[in-house]
Amino acid sequence: MPTFVYMTRCDGCGHCVDICPSDIMHIDKTYRRAYNIEPSMCWECYSCVKACPQNAIDMRGYADFAPLGHSVRVQRDEQKGTIAWKIKFRNGTEKNFLSPITTKPWGTAIPKLADVPGPSKEMRDSQLLYNEPKWIRMDDGGLRTLEAAGLKLQKGVAY
């Protein structure tokens, strides 16, 4: 389902150009608005759809499995730390989802790797990977689990 841009919504901010992993979101030479230069090379990753601050990017479903009338739209609300999806089926059925995309304020949980001392020779020769076993907490109260985080698993599919 490659992306396309509503030209009247796009303000040419460049976030989709910046984020597209396939490098196919570019700026139109006539109107200076974003457009997908090669839909057949689209990974359908939705990065541009989620990054667009104007919600100007939508997906065009292939006619064989997503016939006319459907809609899959997404709103990534970074300020609230959530992502919301609205799936609309051709028969009018609607499904709405809301999920977290971060649990901490943005930029507060970035490891300061530059401040970490370099590995010693003994660490380099070890079979363990960087920060093992510390980060998997084998030596600090066991593995990270739902219970350790104070959560519990619910049965069934939790929407």
Binding site: D11, C13, V17, R73, Q75, L98, A158
Partner: protein
């Protein structure tokens, strides 16, 4: 320099009627160009089709007073304050250029129609200069530093393409116009050629409406209005309407990890400008 009417000196050579006819001709060119643009691209038909579809799919009926209130919000927030821009620098540059253009055009019309040869109150030439300088500050800032093919695509600011017709002809018209006025007050003979170039650039600006993005000043407010109406009538262009503000959503199992998180998580990808190309 800032208090003399640059058009008054022209009346020594040309009748004020010639200047006034030229201004009227340019206004007609903008109106005709915009109408041609609307018909050629089918944008009006698209707008009204989309409008009818949104109205028929809408959960809530929006009529009368509410529609008027949305129109006022669109005019105040989206048009007068350029509220749709997500990038603060682009918004400031657009406000400078937009208000500069309005002030400059109104001052030009007043100088040409009301004071073509007579003594001119100092206010109008000053507004003409202020408007022109605002266009130059906003326009060159946009052209060299902000426009997306330079900022996001990494292209040279000197790479010219079709999309630049509007901004370049606007900048050329105003730059040449201000240089002409400055040379005129110094009594320089070079003011004549600069005036000729100014007229060429101005004719290109107002005569190229069907091929440039000049008409965005008409279709952008229409799109912003439609967007607000679709939010109000519940269709929201099929966009999700669930938010974390809703207590019912906060209580859901999938939102458990955000139970104690602040409601404002700050900026995500917008912490940095999109310049990782």
């Amino acid at each position: 320099m800032f208090t003399s009417n640059p058009f008054a000196a022209l009346s020594e050579f040309w009748s004020p009627l010639v200047m006034q006819s030229y201004v009227v001709l340019m206004a007609i060119a903008v109106a005709a160009g915009t109408l041609f643009d609307i018909v050629h691209k089918g944008s009006a038909r698209y707008f009204f089709d989309h409008w009818r579809q949104s109205k028929s799919n809408g959960i809530q009926k929006i009529e009368g007073g509410e529609l008027m209130s949305i129109a006022v919000q669109t005019a105040v927030v989206d048009v007068l304050a350029s509220g749709e821009f997500c990038n603060a620098r682009r918004r400031v540059a657009h406000l400078l250029t937009m208000y500069g253009f309005v002030i400059h055009v109104v001052a030009t019309a007043v100088l040409v129609f009301l004071y073509p040869a007579a003594p001119t109150p100092a206010l109008w030439p000053q507004l003409w200069w202020i408007g022109g300088l605002m266009i130059l500050v906003g326009g060159y800032w946009f052209w060299f530093f902000i426009r997306v093919d330079v900022a996001a695509e990494g292209n040279s600011p000197f790479r010219v393409m079709h999309a630049d017709l509007f901004i370049l002809s606007l900048l050329a018209s105003v730059t040449l116009g201000l240089i002409w006025a400055w040379l005129q007050t110094r009594g320089s003979a070079a003011s004549g050629p600069f005036f000729g170039l100014h007229i060429i650039a101005t004719t290109v600006l107002y005569g190229s409406v069907p091929w440039s993005k000049f008409a965005h000043m008409f279709f952008k407010p229409a799109a912003a209005f439609e967007k607000r109406v679709s939010k109000a009538n519940g269709t929201a262009e099929n966009l999700p309407t669930l938010t974390r503000d809703d207590p019912e959503q906060q209580a859901r199992h999938s939102m458990e990890l955000l139970r104690t998180a602040p409601m404002d998580m700050g900026l995500g990808i917008k912490r940095e400008p999109p310049r990782h190309y």
